[in-house]
Every structure is written in C-alpha cells, then in structure tokens.
C-alpha cells in the first residue's frame, strides 16, 4: 500500500515541468536564504503567486524546493561574511565564520552543505514513518480536542516570544481579531464591518501574511539609507570552492552529533511554532555540551557547523509532520503551504494522508528529492550568490515591494487585496518596531477561523463546557497549554530559582491523567513511567534545591 503510494507520487512528480519548477524553486530558495534580510518565509511567500496556476502537488513541490533551498542557503552568507542569511543559520555563524577566517571557507561550506543534506534525509525518513502514525492518532480527535490543540498551538507560539511573552499573547489575540473581520463562516453574519464593503469582505489570509511579514521586513531593510545602499560584496570576500570529500569524512566521524542534531531539529519542528530559528541554537548548545572539547566551539570547530545545519534542515521535516498529520501549521512557512493547499481545495487533516495519498506522498517525495537537488545546486548557487551580492539592497527591496503587490493581486484578482497588503505592511512594521513578535499574530490569523469552527462543532454536540476536560486529548492539550504559558518564566529562572525544580515533575504528573484516561495498553504504561520519573524528581527535589541555593 505504502509502496503503491510512493510509486504513484514519484510518477506524479517525475515529469520535466515539476522537476524544473522544483529546481528553480530550490535555486531561488538558496539565493533568498543566502541574502541577509530575506528570510525563508519571505521566499516562500513570494513563490506563492506562481503556484496558483499549478496543480496542488506541483505547487507544493515547488514550495518545498524553496523551503529546503532557503534552509541550506542561509549558511553561505553566515560562513562567508559572518552575517546569517536567515535566523535558522545564526548558530552556523558561530563556528563557520571563524573557520572561514582561518583560511578554510571551502571546508566550512562543505560541512554546512553536507550536514544540511544528511539532516534533511534523516528528517525525511522520520516524516514518512511518523506522519502517518500521528495522523492515526489525529483520527481519534473530536471537536473538543481540536479546539484544545489550536489553543495549545497559540499559547506555545506566544510563550516562545521569550521575555516579551505578554506581547506575544497580545499579538496572537490581535491575529484572532483580524480573522474575525468580515463575514462569519458559520452564520454568514458580518462582524466588525461597520457597513464598510472593504471590511465586510474580510481580510484574505495571504495578503495579511505577506503584508505583516514580507512588506514590513522590506520597510525595515530600507530604513537606514547607508545600509540600504550597501551590497554584500562590501562586507567580505565570497569567492571560494567547496571541499566535499573532506567534509563528508568529518561528518561521518561525528555521526552522533549529526543524528542527535537531526532529532532535535525534527522534534522542534513537530512542536507548533518552534521553528528552525530555535532548533539550530538548541542543537549547537547540545553539541557543545556533549563535546569533549567544548572550549573549541566558537573558534571554528567542525561540530559547531554540523549541529545547526543538520538541525535546521531536519526542522522542515518536523513542521511538515504536524501540518500533514493534524492540519496545524507549525510555523509561518507551513502556514503559507497550508494556504497554498487550501487554494487547491486540499485540506490537510488527520484523514489527509489516507484520503489524498497522492498529494501526501508527493510531499514526502518532494522533500526527499529537494535535499538532493539542493546538494547539487549548492555549487551553482554559490556563483549565483556572488552575483546577487553585487546588487544593492535598496534595488532588491524596491523590486520585491512591487512584486508583492502584483503577486497578491493574482490571488483573487481584486485590488482590495493590494490595499490589505499595504495596510498590514504598516501594522507589521509598527509591531516590529514596538518589539511585538509577528509569528503569533500570523498563526492567530490562520488558526482563528479553524478554532471557531471546532468550538462551534463542539457546542453543537454538547453545550456542556466540562466536555473540554473530560475528553483525554482535550485535557492533555489544555494542561500542556497552561504549562507552556509558564515556560518562558521557567526558562528565565531555570537553575536560579527553586520553583523551577517543580515545573518538569508537575507537568509530567499532570499529563499522566489524560494519558491514563486514553485507555489501551501503551499510553497508561507511558503514563506510569512518566509518573515514576516525576516522583523520582520530586524525591530528589530538596537535595537539588539545597545545591541550587548554596551556589
């Protein structure tokens, strides 16, 4: 069955047009990822208008090409000029740039390129094996569980805003409000329209997203005239040859680091809202802690390049797992992909993989193939990168600004969308400057209507609110949400304040309740193990607390 689906998907993708589109997408992603100031999400957003006229599998394959390309492209500028092309390559710069400065830029690039490739391949294997299983779990979900899952996704997004958690929460709630404007999906009643036709039509999700994210980013890029007039070649030398063989040998010698970092990447991707910007730093941190020579990290150590690059590519696989299995976008990139699929009337849900196996497996295969494609294209992209680095930032920004408008228009062929883009561009720019994170707002806009729909279905089945606490998955997500709200405080005080020692055991104990309620064999056993571990942590708590206080 799986083999049949794989073969059908390969046949679906194995035509010249799709392969060409994926190649162009991967190349565009590599270049966009390499240019500081242009994030992967922006590259995906800019690709979107081209996918409207394509078939669903072609469109998604192209976007996956851009996604994987963007993740790999970020390492080029990070290693060669010390400025990470995307937030997902920040940690690569810690060791990549010093290694390049020491006269080994080709080796540093080789490590980055091959670690990205292996990370992507490990993630593909996990994507193909985990996504269908997770989808089976998703089939158990009832409306209450879905609503709680979305609630969890929103709280996690906000809590990852770090010190600005309250701003993250406000941003998420603002996103939910934006999604309310216009005609209500359930009853067809206009909300927050005030008799205005423009508001009455509501805001289409993609113009809002492009405005909030891409448009406002471009405004930030041109704020400083001196910086806007600079090209990357003003910042460093970018001509170099990649050392492939030496890099592969080094990576194989450090395979534990590679596998660990890839797993960190996949796990981070599976979590809603925790993208590659987080996973690369987490993986770097773990590689440093596990290394026998942690003092060498930051000075041009190979492990410091392998870890973040394997992790950031693997994160893409993790994010796709959640999107495909549960229909919940894990980050901005998968939110855009979800939007693209919806345009083609393909609605990701737990039944998606079984009901639309051709498209689902086409996504798996496209992700697998994109990693090979990016590997092959890296050398060519490096030459392209050298050319792009000669273009001044303001030239790129001006052209892309107009492109955003035209691209958005092509979505529904109405100029209102162009106005929406500009208005949300202003809002996004203001929010950026006031240090409000944009990701929660974007996810709020995407998830708001879905949350309302599931809430409505829940209440149609039963008006008893206690149902949210008696359904095991719903309870599971509500508990996880409550703890996720306190996560940023936990992170801030971890290792400094005694209360943080209670956080993990209490979370585990609380989660044992819904796991036991789920029944069967595996989950209650898992609950028992978690409970035992939590008790063991609580027993050790006084000793750990004394140790913490004494230090």
């Amino acid at each position: 069955m799986i083999l049949d689906n794989v073969i059908t998907a390969i046949l679906e993708l194995a035509n010249l047009k799709t392969l060409l589109l994926m190649t162009v997408g991967a190349m565009a992603g590599l270049l966009a990822g390499a240019i500081p100031g242009f994030t992967i999400a922006m590259a995906i957003v800019l690709t979107l208008p081209f996918t409207f006229g394509m078939e669903a599998s072609q469109g998604v394959a192209t976007m996956i090409g851009v996604y994987v390309g963007g993740l790999s492209g970020g390492l080029m500028s990070g290693i060669l000029i010390g400025i990470p092309g995307t937030p997902s390559s920040v940690a690569t710069t810690f060791d990549g740039f010093p290694m390049a400065r020491k006269g080994e830029p080709g080796f540093a690039l080789g490590l980055g390129v091959w670690s990205s490739f292996f990370g992507g391949i490990i993630a593909t294997v996990l994507l193909v094996t985990i996504a269908p299983q997770l989808a089976k779990v998703g089939l158990e979900f009832q409306p209450w569980d879905y609503f709680a899952l979305i609630f969890f996704a929103l709280t996690v997004t906000a809590s990852l805003a770090g010190e600005n958690m309250i701003k993250g929460l406000i941003s998420g709630a603002l996103g939910l409000i934006v999604a309310c404007v216009g005609e209500d999906d359930i009853n067809g009643v206009q909300r927050f329209a005030f008799g205005n036709d423009f508001l009455g039509e509501g805001f289409a999700f993609l113009p809002v997203l492009i405005g909030l994210f891409a448009f406002s980013q471009l405004m930030s890029d041109v704020r400083d005239t001196a910086k806007a007039r600079k090209s990357l070649t003003d910042m460093g030398d970018v001509s170099v040859r990649i050392e492939h063989r030496r890099a592969i040998t080094t990576i194989f010698r450090d395979w534990i680091n590679l596998v660990r970092s890839s797993l960190i990447g996949v796990f981070t991707g599976v979590l809603p809202a925790a993208g590659s910007a987080i996973s690369n730093i987490l993986a770097y941190d773990q590689a440093k802690k596990a290394s026998p020579t942690p003092e060498k990290f930051g000075t041009g150590h190979s492990g410091g390049i392998i870890a973040p690059e394997a992790a950031n590519n693997a994160t893409a696989g993790g994010a796709l797992i959640t999107m495909m299995a549960l229909g919940i976008p894990g980050d901005i990139v998968t939110a855009v992909m979800l939007g693209a699929l919806l345009i083609h009337d393909v609605i990701p849900s737990p039944a998606f993989i079984s009901e639309q196996p051709t498209i689902a497996y086409a996504i798996f295969i496209a992700f697998f193939f994109a990693n090979f494609l990016v590997l092959v294209l890296q050398t060519g992209a490096l030459r392209g990168f050298v050319l792009v680095t000669k273009v001044r930032m303001y030239v790129l920004a001006s052209i892309i600004l107009v492109y955003c408008g035209i691209g958005v228009f092509s979505l529904n062929n109405i100029t209102n969308d162009m106005w929406t883009l500009a208005i949300f561009g202003v809002i996004g720019y203001i929010m950026r400057n006031l240090k409000f994170p944009l990701a929660p707002m974007i996810l709020g806009v995407v998830l708001g209507p879905i949350a309302e729909r599931w809430l409505s279905r829940s209440l149609a089945l039963s008006t008893d609110i206690s149902e949210f606490f008696t359904h095991p998955w719903s309870l599971f997500f509500i508990i996880a949400s409550l703890f996720s709200i306190g996560f940023s405080l936990y992170q801030r005080d971890r290792g400094k304040k005694v209360w943080t020692l209670w956080y993990a055991p209490l979370l585990m104990l609380a989660l044992t309740i819904p796991l036991v309620m789920m029944g069967g064999t595996v989950r209650p056993v898992l609950a028992g193990l978690m409970g035992l571990w939590a008790v063991w942590m609580l027993v050790r708590l006084p000793r750990n607390a004394r140790a913490m206080q004494s230090t």
Binding site: S220, I399, L401, A422, L434, K435
Partner: protein, 168 residues
C-alpha cells in the same frame, strides 16, 4: 516625576482599542440560531485581549515606577518628533509612494504604475545623479516589464489596467 515609557503609551492605546472592540462586539447581529452566536467568539477574544493588555499596562507602569530601562529602548535615535520623523523617514516615504501607486492604479494600470513606483523608490533610496537616473529607469522598466509579462502571459493573470493607457 516618572515619565511614561513607550510601552505604557502603547498599552493605553491598546486598551482604548479593546474598549472599541468590546463595543463593536455588541453591535454584531444575532440571527438567533446555532449554538455559537456570531458575536460570541469575537467578544471572547476581545475580552481575552483586554486581559492581556491590562497585564501589559500594569507591567509597563511598574517598570516606569521602578525606573527600569524600558524593554523597547530607542536605538540611538534623536529625541522628539523631529528625531522620530528623521528615523522613520525612509519607510514613511516608501509607504506614501506605495499608497500613491495603489490610489493611481485605476488611472495608470499595473505596468506604468509599477514602473513609476519602482523608479521613484529607487531614486529616493539610491540617490539622484544623471547616471543613477538612467540606471534606475532601466532597472524599473526591465523588472516591472518582466513581471508584467510573466503574470499576464505566463500565469494568465489579468492585471489591473489604467484608464489613461487602456491597452496595457
């Protein structure tokens, strides 16, 4: 006397916005069917947002009282309205140009309007010398022309045409 930080001012504006949202929530028509009235979700979200904004307001006030460095520090910009205007001059002009492009779109159409917009943006951000003007004009014509051709003939999108140049 404690001065109000930017966060406090923003939180007050947000609270006023929340008040408006709550009022607007009560203006939503109720068709009297279905378990979830159309106003219920927006109202609930408005109240949640209000709660967050109150926390933000209190946090900002406490930070002001403690004389703590505000979380949103100004990045070396000059104080006062003139300093603010100078700091955000480029984005303000770019946005103004973009809104002008949108307002004049029914007259100029996408191709001419787009070329004019790119040329104006390039000249404003990149500076104006005879050589740069020629460069910017070439970049504007080629980039927008290519985009227009791609969308019109490649993707079959009927881009907005202008009254002044109905053919394109």
């Amino acid at each position: 006397m404690t001065t109000m930080s930017r966060d406090t001012i923003v939180s007050i504006i947000l609270l006023l916005f929340c008040g408006f949202l709550i009022w607007a929530g009560y203006q939503i028509r109720d068709p009297q069917f279905g378990e979830l009235p159309p106003a219920a979700w927006p109202k609930a979200v408005s109240w949640v947002l209000t709660g967050f904004c109150i926390v933000y307001f209190v946090q900002s006030l406490l930070a002001d009282r403690a004389g703590a460095e505000p979380a949103t520090v100004t990045d070396g910009r000059e104080p006062g309205l003139a300093g603010w205007f100078r700091w955000y001059f480029n984005p303000i002009v770019c946005l103004a140009l973009y809104f002008t492009f949108l307002a004049t779109l029914p007259y100029f159409g996408t191709l001419i309007g787009g070329i004019l917009l790119v040329f104006a943006l390039l000249s404003f951000l990149g500076g104006v010398t005879p050589r740069l003007i020629v460069n910017h004009a070439i970049i504007a014509v080629i980039s927008v022309g290519a985009m227009w051709l791609l969308f019109t003939y490649g993707l079959r999108v009927l881009l907005p045409r202008g009254e002044l140049f109905p053919g394109i």
